[in-house]
Structures are given as structure tokens and as C-alpha cells.
């Protein structure tokens, strides 16, 4: 496939790994922001190959993982409300919340539909005027243009049976929260390439400067990840700390102006609790006043949470520690035993982009794998 296969060339990858190892005079600590990047680093063995010169700390860039249980609980409630249908991205369906997952709600008779696109939910609302269709709007700024477009189309079509449960999260405030947290060890970032395709990377300049941390816009294929790593190491070795774009085929400094305009007109920043991390100031997006009627929390009269939300899940899942980069999934006592993709205790094991799922799939200790073989 064009624009994919070329960036998986193993010969170039080997040369890039050798180049990075040659440049480094010490071990550096780098955080890749996006869950898709975590998976790429693990799946292609890049984390392992660079382990003695780079410690990777996995960032909270898995929107499924950081969507608060509260939002999932309300989604389940809507699914079980007569006359409503809750449409959601597929990877949200199995995430456990306080009273089970959306899949559990479906098993109990709730109307839950997997959707590839929020625009499909708009079409559903168009086809069935008697159904209140609610789309569970999860995701970073990569996804927000699609949900913004859904609201704008619904408005233009005059639909009164489409709304969205908005749980969008913003990447930059989370990156700042990581850098500002006491005991932070992250020295540089691989910035989330597809968020930047939308938002650009100019806004990171002040972050790089204030915290003296290189921020390198990075893609997802092996050569992209290695190019990002190489740029981080080069800057760190040289004592530099600026924004660098190593995903220029997809990212322009100002991003996609049309997509940004759409976001700005439809959403505004708001404080948002991130599952496992507490409230991140300006860490979310919500619909602007003029589109309030498309906000499911407003339409279905859900009282705003006045109580401070707990930072950790009640069921002792350590997702918060994993998402903040303080705990490697394999160091969690539940990993591979009580917590597996089949029986997840928390979101990072369920989500296709979660760090725990990535470790389970690509880095399980040989003994655990052997034990499973015997058990079969």
C-alpha cells in the first residue's frame, strides 16, 4: 500500500537503529504520546532494539483508556433508555465501567450499535425519525473533526433525533500535565502524528521551551517511529529543545486549517476528568452553546457531576499509574493473571491502543506463554 509499505523497509530500519545507537552517549527517557505509537514500538521490536539507549515511557494517548468510567456509565444508561440507540466506536464496547460495559448493557437488552463513523449515526437518525440516536463521541483531536462534522450535518438537516455524548480529550494539556508532575522523568516526546495532522505543531513551541523538552512530531510506521526517536536523541545529545516535524507528509505546521476551523466553530475547551489521571484543566472538548441541543447530557437532562471524581478505578486497576507512565504493564500484579484481554480489569487492557494490551500481545514473559500452552 502506498504511503505505508515504504515506511516498513527492514533494511532502512536496521540502519536507523544503528544510527540511533551510534548517536547516544547515555540512556534517554522518551514518551510516545499515542497508543498507536506504543503498539508500533512494541509490535516491531523497536522498544527492545533501543532499550539500552532509550527508555520509552508510554503516554496516555489512548482515548478509549482515558475516557472516564462516568461517561461510559451514562452511555449504558442511554442505551437502556426506551426509544434511544447508543452508537459507539467498536473499541469502546468492551471497556468496563461501574456497572459493566456497553456490551453488558446490550446483553441486558440495551440498544448499542458499533459505528465506524459518527456520520453513520447521523444517517441512522435520518432513516429512523422515531429513534433518538446518541453517538458516543470519544477520541482526541484526530477524531473531533468527524464528530464536529456529524453535528454540523445534523444541524443543516434539521434533525431533532441526533445527539452526542461528548467525551473528547485534548492532547496538549495532558502532555503538559505529564511534564509538570512531580518526579517527571520524561525528557522528550514523540508527539501524536495524527492529532498534529489536524492541529499542527506550532502550539507545542512554548511547551518545548518552558520545560526544555524536545517535541518531535512522529508517525506510526516503523521508519516513522525510528525517525522520531533519532530526532529526539539528536536534540537531547545536543542540548536542544524545540519542536521538530518528522511526519511532514501528513503534518503541516498549522495542521489542516479547514479541520481546525470546524473544531473551533463547533467545540470549545473544558476541564475533563481523565480516567486514572484526575481532572486535566482544559483537557476536554465540549459542544459550544449554539450546538447545545446536540449535547446528550443536556438533551437527556443528566445532572453535572458536582462531586470530585475519584482518580483511580474502584476495582484496584492500576490504569492510572500505567497511563501516567509510572508503571510498566508487566509490573502490575494483575497483568496476565486476573487481567487479560478476555477478562480486563481496566481500559488499557481492553483497548486496541492500550499499553497493557500491547504488552500482553507482544511482550508476555515466556513462562506465562508456556503456562498457557500447558493449560490448553
Amino acid at each position: 500500500m502506498k504511503y505505508v509499505d515504504e515506511y516498513r523497509d527492514p533494511h532502512l530500519a536496521r540502519r536507523m537503529i544503528a544510527d540511533i545507537r551510534r548517536r547516544a552517549t547515555r540512556r534517554w527517557t522518551i514518551m510516545e504520546v499515542c497508543g498507536g505509537q506504543t503498539h508500533g514500538l512494541l509490535r516491531h521490536g523497536i522498544e527492545e532494539e533501543l532499550a539500552d539507549v532509550v527508555e520509552t515511557i508510554h503516554g496516555p494517548g489512548c482515548p478509549v483508556c482515558v475516557t472516564h468510567a462516568d461517561a461510559i456509565d451514562f452511555a449504558c444508561e442511554l442505551a437502556r433508555t426506551p426509544g434511544c440507540a447508543l452508537a459507539s466506536f467498536g473499541d469502546m464496547l468492551r471497556v468496563p465501567a461501574s456497572r459493566g460495559s456497553l456490551l453488558d448493557a446490550r446483553a441486558a437488552g440495551g440498544a448499542v450499535r458499533a459505528a465506524y463513523s459518527p456520520l453513520d449515526a447521523v444517517r441512522l437518525a435520518q432513516r429512523d425519525p422515531n429513534l433518538q440516536v446518541v453517538f458516543f463521541a470519544v477520541g482526541f483531536e484526530t477524531t473531533a473533526p468527524a464528530t464536529a462534522l456529524a453535528v454540523r450535518q445534523a444541524a443543516a438537516l434539521g434533525l431533532d433525533n441526533f445527539s452526542m455524548l461528548v467525551a473528547h480529550v485534548r492532547v496538549q494539556p495532558a502532555m503538559e500535565a505529564v511534564l509538570a508532575s512531580p518526579g517527571n522523568r520524561v525528557q522528550a516526546f514523540l508527539a501524536a502524528g495524527h492529532v498534529c495532522a489536524v492541529m499542527g505543531c506550532e502550539s507545542y513551541a512554548s511547551l518545548a521551551e518552558r520545560y526544555r523538552a524536545p517535541i518531535v512530531v512522529t508517525g506510526f510506521e516503523p521508519l516513522d517511529l525510528l525517525a522520531g526517536m533519532a530526532a529526539c536523541v539528536r536534540q537531547l545529545e545536543a542540548g536542544e529543545a524545540h519542536v521538530e516535524n518528522r511526519y511532514a507528509r501528513s503534518v503541516r505546521p498549522a495542521g489542516n486549517p479547514a479541520a481546525r476551523r470546524l473544531l473551533e466553530e463547533t467545540f470549545e475547551a473544558c476541564d475533563r476528568p481523565w480516567r486514572g489521571m484526575g481532572v486535566v484543566a482544559a483537557g476536554g472538548l465540549r459542544l459550544r452553546d449554539e450546538y447545545r441541543r446536540f449535547d446528550a447530557e443536556f438533551r437527556f437532562r443528566r445532572p453535572a457531576s458536582a462531586v470530585a471524581l475519584p482518580a483511580v478505578d474502584a476495582n484496584d486497576c492500576l490504569a492510572g499509574e500505567v497511563l501516567a507512565g509510572r508503571l510498566k504493564p508487566t509490573a502490575c500484579p494483575h497483568f496476565g493473571s486476573a487481567c487479560t484481554p478476555e477478562t480486563p480489569r481496566g481500559a488499557p487492557m481492553v483497548s486496541s491502543e492500550g499499553a497493557c494490551a500491547a504488552y500482553f500481545r507482544y511482550r508476555r514473559p515466556a513462562a506465562a506463554v508456556a503456562g498457557e500452552e500447558v493449560a490448553r
Binding site: 502506498k2 544503528a18 477524531t143 489536524v198
Partner: protein
């Protein structure tokens, strides 16, 4: 979920600014995609598709530039650059 896939615009099917759509080919399939964020893209251009929506246009020249840069690693020019390895910290890995 943040993964976006490069696809080639086969043909525009709706040029309305809000309801813009095109047939886009990716992963061996042709699918209608929502194009309101890339209304200036041409047939034959590549775009990044995420959740059914084109979120950015791919820059072919930049795509090639990265590959050209990377292919120079390990060539004579790069070897010359690496001739003087950076000074090691005491106790650092060999």
C-alpha cells in the same frame, strides 16, 4: 483509534462544502468518505482517512524526502559524519 489510513481519491461524488464526499481507495477497498475538511484535494491525491472522514492531505514531495533522507544513512556521507563518535560519559555503555 487514532490510526488514520492513507487513501487515494478516485472520484468526487459530492462537492457541497458540508456534505462533500468522494470515493476513496484504501486497504484494497473503495469507500465513500466525507471530504468537508479537504475540499481542495484533487482526484489522484492521497488523504488520511479516520472514522470515515478525510482529515488531511498527504504531501507526496515530503513523503519522498523522508525516504531519501533515510536512504542516505549508512552511505559514505553519513559514515564521514559518524567518523568521530561523540565523547562517552565515564561508565556509559560501550
Amino acid at each position: 483509534m487514532c490510526l488514520a489510513v492513507p487513501g487515494k481519491i478516485v472520484r468526487w461524488t459530492d462537492r457541497d462544502p458540508l456534505f462533500a464526499q468522494a470515493e476513496v481507495e484504501f486497504e484494497g477497498l473503495r469507500r465513500p468518505c466525507h471530504m468537508a475538511c479537504v475540499t481542495d484535494a484533487l482526484e489522484g491525491d492521497y488523504v488520511l482517512i479516520h472514522a470515515g472522514v478525510a482529515i488531511a492531505r498527504l504531501d507526496a514531495a515530503e513523503a519522498q524526502r523522508l525516504l531519501d533522507d533515510l536512504s542516505r544513512l549508512g552511505t559514505a556521507a553519513a559514515e564521514e559524519f559518524a567518523v568521530d563518535p561523540p565523547a562517552r560519559e565515564p561508565g556509559a555503555r560501550p
